[in-house]
Symmetry: C2
Subunit: 350 residues, 2 copies
């Protein structure tokens, strides 16, 4: 994509590493009092006072996690931040700071990095997080993005994966499988483009799922909603690898079993339509398709009246004694074991 | 190097991402009370109480920052941690936690990652820092390591780059240029090996400088020494890019000038010998060779009696009014402007 453009581009070597960092980070706002010193010293300095610090990191590799032939750099920057913030929210914490490290080959001009940082800045502005540091270097081939995100919460607020109890409700935000089906559509259009570069794809019917893939959102709103409803989940995780894999994490770490009801899994009509078109089972897509960045959590049944009917939340099952295992109750009322078939970076490697 | 071995190797895909993380991180000790929750949830949870948090990150790319044909993986893991801890010490802080993210192509078997993590563990044990998270994924070609390090300090302890004052002494720990000359020796042996694979290199005369390149140390001891001597530097930075570049950072951010005396720059005899052999100017090597991970700091002259004669510390100059500029006073007593010619990742890219 980038190589097709003919405008004059600025090489990264011309700016140098320090000039580049200064150039890319100058337009970022600082939102948090906890940020005492951001970019520009050997390290950032933060002050969380009596709050606990929540800390996560994620690495995205070109050709493994993203394909620049259909992923615009601005979206990539946005999504890379989202993937990390989602992990902070999954701890029931407030996201506060990020560090962004990037390695790029010299096929990327400065303007490409500016696009990427525009997306990063959109996310930091929307979610009010401070960019406090990072590293910018060259790579031999593609682009690698490594982001570390920090958040804060009081000890009582933090929700781990290991607190789910028998009879707790299993709840998911939003709907599932959209990001995966969006990827299928984009991959198909890429193949069509290879054969016929003049073909103009009509992606309009797929707007929702393509957006789920290219511009996912982290569910800060759900954390705020739960707070307002005075609900503290007993366990929580974000859905980055697929529903079944995340449920298995919760069950294993909480030492409980689970009944997941197939007919309760929330699917957008566009996802169902795309599944029919691609001849893929929509349940499998919800169970194994990753990158939806929805929140999956368990809560005491006492809270049910507060969430009943909320369009953002769906009760999809309940936790059982660990001896009952992790089960999917199918539409035909058959009980089958839930297996993890989510995203595995090493299995998709060339 | 790895490809020469014929033993049975375990593929990374066989373990899967979660199995791999568990396998690689299981033997790490936790040293700090501030680590409430380490690997195994969406995020780590830390508690720094009334301390400030110091935070830095670094990305190392195969073929740009390291060459596996002469860098053993264990050393690489060790060095990657050191590079980050050095930044924490340069803030006059105590290093407490690290996050380690790794992307590797499938040419690396599990045993290679185990070697890398053995080196990482050596560093975490030696410097007593907790591995609290990270990411492990595949890459299309080489290996990429991204480390984030955290440290803690009270507000009064933290030393920034911007506090140097006119007449402050400019002090450096250890000696300079060793890591760069070690790299020259290793690069030369690599070329010899290409021509004659049976040649057994005699690296013994170069032990010190090769070790400076392959197994550098972060100067925690200097931070502890300064603390014991009740010296708080006015400004500090670690030398990762070369002395001149770091001095210019201190001067720019502190808005002062500097006189650096060429004849004061500490050089090990092995470095001088290697410079003669390679016909490179040793001052240039000290000024521009990176990766020594020594500390460069400024302090009030009042402290001079405390550091005088200490073999670990050398006064190499003093700070001046900014109008005097940044100058190198040569052995011939000529004053020439100091220019940054340090490591620039983008200039060395292919």
């Amino acid at each position: 994509m980038l190589e097709h453009k003919n405008q004059e581009k600025t090489t990264l070597a011309a700016l140098g590493e320090f000039g580049l960092i200064e150039h890319l980070t100058k337009n970022f706002s600082i939102y948090h009092q906890s940020t005492l010193k951001s970019v520009g010293d050997d390290a950032a300095v933060l002050d969380f006072k009596d709050k606990k610090v929540v800390l996560t990191t994620d690495m995205l590799v070109e050709g493994v996690h993203f394909d620049l032939s259909y992923m615009p750099l601005k979206h990539l920057g946005y999504k890379a931040v989202i993937a990390n913030l989602s992990d902070i929210f999954a701890m029931n914490a407030k996201a506060t700071q990020i560090l962004v490290s990037i390695a790029v080959s010299n096929r990327f001009p400065l303007e490409a990095l500016e696009e990427l940082y525009t997306g990063i800045r959109l996310a930091t502005n929307k979610f009010k997080v401070d960019l406090v540091g990072g590293d910018t270097t060259s790579s031999k081939t593609g682009m690698i993005i490594s982001i570390t995100a920090l958040g804060e919460a009081s000890a009582e607020e933090i929700v781990y994966r290991d607190g789910a109890k028998e009879n707790d409700l299993l709840v998911v935000s939003g709907d599932l499988g959209g990001a995966y089906m969006g990827l299928q559509v984009l991959e198909r259009e890429k193949e069509v483009f290879k054969v016929n570069p003049n073909n103009q794809p009509d992606l309009e019917p797929y707007t929702y799922i393509v957006e789920r893939q290219l511009k996912p959102e982290a569910r800060k709103d759900i954390i705020e909603l739960l707070h307002k409803l005075e609900i503290r989940p007993t366990a929580m995780i974000d859905i980055s690898d697929g529903l079944s894999s995340e449920i298995l994490h919760l069950c294993k770490q909480s030492n409980v079993g689970c009944n997941l009801f197939e007919d309760k899994i929330p699917l957008d009509p566009t996802v169902i339509a795309a599944c029919e078109e691609f001849n893929i089972d929509s349940t499998l897509v919800a169970l194994s398709g990753g990158e939806d960045y929805e929140l999956l959590f368990t809560l005491d049944q006492i809270h049910y009246p507060k969430i009943k009917g909320n369009p953002n939340l769906t009760v999809i099952g309940h936790m059982t004694d660990s001896s009952e295992g992790t089960a999917l109750i199918t539409r035909g009322a058959t009980k089958i074991p839930l297996t993890a078939q989510g995203w595995n970076a090493f299995k998709t490697s060339p």
